[in-house]
């Protein structure tokens, strides 16, 4: 709403440009039953034009605002001590710019350890479901024998030490090489178990890298996810040593290469814990 411009000559001398007396008074409408309050104000903008400003606000009564009389009275107390001296710019009280959440130890609604109801259907189908097969390592019935247990690498290290290293690997596909071929001394039973180099070599085979894992994902969760594609020999989730939380990536080794291929094709781009998984072949670490 533009009115005619005010000329300099019309201004009183020491008025400092305060022309508010020329404006219509402030009008407040409401609040109505929905709590909508309208305030109409007039002011001058920088060019001297009269501007109508309509502010619509919603007035909400705080249902919980049950203040005692004494508390209301205390609201009007004068400041004292150092508080009386501080000006508005001292900014002793600030609202955090960071949103702080009550961080739940685990996602709401999820159970700490969910029993695996589904089992692994693929493995069950291929094995024909013999009930008498009981694995001594993981206690699973009808799935595999102890020697073929996909979890045996996950079992405690004490167990792996006294096992002959030749049957250790998942690549022991019926190749019981013991006795028939040369075993290097450092791989023989009883040798110092400094087989890290050799382990890595083996682990590079059929190894799948999983990235973009959520922080809550642990190795059992990953195993649960991947074992549907075939026997898994190793699951590893990188963990921050300081905080103990996951760093968001991990590795899964399959016994069979075709299972790994299947897992990559199925799970790459799969939504898991609100995140899109990225599953690919693990590239061997350059030496």
């Amino acid at each position: 709403m533009a009115a005619g411009k005010i000329r300099w000559g019309e201004l009183e001398e020491d008025d400092g440009g305060d022309l508010d007396f020329l404006l219509p008074p402030r009008v407040v409408i409401g609040p109505d039953e929905n709590g909508i309050k309208k305030t109409i104000e007039y002011r001058f903008d920088d060019d001297g034009n009269k501007v109508k400003v309509t502010t619509t606000t919603r007035v909400r009564k705080l249902a919980r605002a049950r203040l005692s009389k004494a508390a209301i009275e205390r609201r009007s107390w004068g400041k004292f001590g150092d508080a009386a001296k501080e000006d508005a710019g001292s900014r002793l009280t600030m609202v955090s710019t960071e949103e702080i959440l009550l961080e739940r130890p685990r996602a709401p609604g999820s159970k700490a350890d969910e029993p695996s109801a589904s089992g692994d259907p693929l493995a069950m189908a291929s094995k024909g479901g013999a009930v008498l097969m009981v694995c001594r390592t993981c206690g699973k019935k009808g799935d595999h024998w102890t020697s073929k247990c996909p979890y045996k690498d996950l079992a405690g290290p004490a167990e792996t030490v006294d096992r002959p290293p030749t049957s250790d690997g998942p690549s022991a596909l019926g190749a019981s090489a013991k006795g028939s071929s040369y075993v290097p001394p450092r791989l023989r039973a009883g040798a110092p178990t400094d087989s890290g180099h050799d382990m890595r070599r083996r682990n590079d085979e059929n190894s799948v890298r999983v990235t973009n894992l959520s922080e809550d994902t642990r190795e059992p969760d990953l195993l649960e996810l991947f074992r549907t594609f075939g026997p898994v020999s190793r699951v590893y989730v990188a963990v921050d040593q300081k905080t103990g939380s996951s760093r968001g990536f991990g590795f899964v080794n399959f016994v069979h290469r075709e299972d790994a291929e299947k897992a990559i094709s199925k799970l790459n781009g799969y939504g898991y814990d609100n995140l899109i998984l990225r599953v690919e072949w693990a590239t061997p670490r350059p030496n």
């Binding site: 919980r64 203040l67 005692s68 004494a70 508390a71 205390r74 609201r75 107390w77 400041k79 004292f80 001590g81 150092d82 508080a83 009386a84 501080e86 002793l92 009280t93 600030m94 609202v95 955090s96 960071e98 949103e99 702080i100 959440l101 009550l102 961080e103 739940r104 130890p105 709401p108 300081k242 905080t243």
Partner: protein, 326 residues
């Protein structure tokens, strides 16, 4: 939640206390002036100037008229809450550590540290209605405890006084005669110094936090252990929610080790536990150092924490906090 950060102190916080209506929050720190804040928006109302040492704790009378503070300058002072005027000074021969008004505000228990060969004591003072009649005489002096008494509070109905401190033992004393009535079981009790003690609203039970990285819930009459909450950090501060079955536990590693550790590994969150199930509900992060003080607003809708970093953080809970299912 967007917490309100209150930077009124230049030194680490030591104690936080809401008045009974929950509209004022009193904060004590190792600098010499306790502060009072409006508990809804965190605006500072005033400071109480007069102490000459770290202020270890405070208590406010039921009608928010008087404030009692205990300080390392070997005094405890009574203040007018409204004006910040110093009303009275109790002088001791050792630093005053813990103060607590009895129900009715006519009595207060003040503890003093062991200092220059003195034994630590818990002293009961009569608080006169008219400040002109106030004297320094002790109605009762409890002594015979080894190690600092970190907290002394009144038991149900002012009949007893409960003390807890560095010797990891909780003791219940008769508030009339000063006789030792009960002692916490060494087997089930805390293994290290007890740093904090907080009563439930109805005074039927209380919660203690200890440097042995646990907090324990006790029956206020029989001193039987009810629950134990285990954390992975030394506990400096505890409080019990007045409305929900929640407890909050705060702490962190020793302040002297803070600079040597990653912030994420420092465990400086306030941890919420379910009071009955003893399960962890969640954690609230934010402080850059251990938490030294915690307090729930008496309405249960907000809580504040004070840290070694000199900040008071006032948290108003999000609505979904009240719907947490275990």
């Amino acid at each position: 939640m967007r917490p309100i950060l209150m930077k009124g102190h230049e030194r680490p916080l030591t104690f936080l206390k809401y008045n009974r209506d929950g509209d004022l929050l009193f904060s004590c720190a190792k600098d010499h002036a306790p502060n009072v804040w409006y508990a809804d928006n965190g605006e500072r109302l005033g400071t109480y100037k007069g102490h000459n040492g770290a202020v270890w704790s405070c208590d406010v009378s039921r009608h928010s008229t008087r404030l009692l503070t205990g300080s390392a300058d070997q005094t405890a002072k009574l203040w007018d809450v409204k004006t910040g005027k110093e009303l009275f000074t109790f002088r001791f021969d050792a630093p005053a550590r813990s103060v607590d008004f009895a129900i009715g505000d006519r009595l207060a228990v003040i503890t003093t540290d062991s200092f220059m060969g003195n034994q630590p004591t818990a002293q009961v003072k009569r608080i006169a209605e008219d400040i002109e009649d106030q004297t320094e005489d002790s109605a009762l002096v409890i002594s015979g405890i080894t190690g600092r008494i970190n907290r002394a509070v009144w038991g149900p109905g002012n009949r007893t006084i409960i003390t807890a401190g560095e010797d990891a033992t909780i003791r219940i004393w008769d508030s009339e005669t000063g006789k030792l009535l009960n002692e916490s079981d060494k087997e089930v009790g805390h293994q290290k110094a007890i740093s904090s003690l907080s009563k439930s609203l109805d005074w039927s039970h209380f919660l203690t936090g200890s440097l042995d990285k646990s907090a324990k819930l006790w029956d206020a009459r029989t001193l039987t252990l009810i629950k134990t909450y285990v954390t992975e950090r030394p506990v400096n501060a505890v409080d019990i929610s007045p409305t929900l079955d929640h407890v909050v536990i705060g702490g962190g590693q020793d302040a002297m080790n803070v600079t040597m550790t990653d912030r994420r590994a420092g465990k400086f969150e306030a941890k919420f536990f379910h009071k009955i199930l003893q399960e962890e509900i969640g954690g609230v992060k934010g402080h850059f150092g251990p938490i030294n003080a915690l307090a729930f607003n008496p309405d249960g809708r907000s809580f504040s924490s004070g840290g070694e970093d000199g900040y008071v953080r006032l948290h108003h809970f999000d609505p979904d906090y009240f719907n947490i299912k275990m």
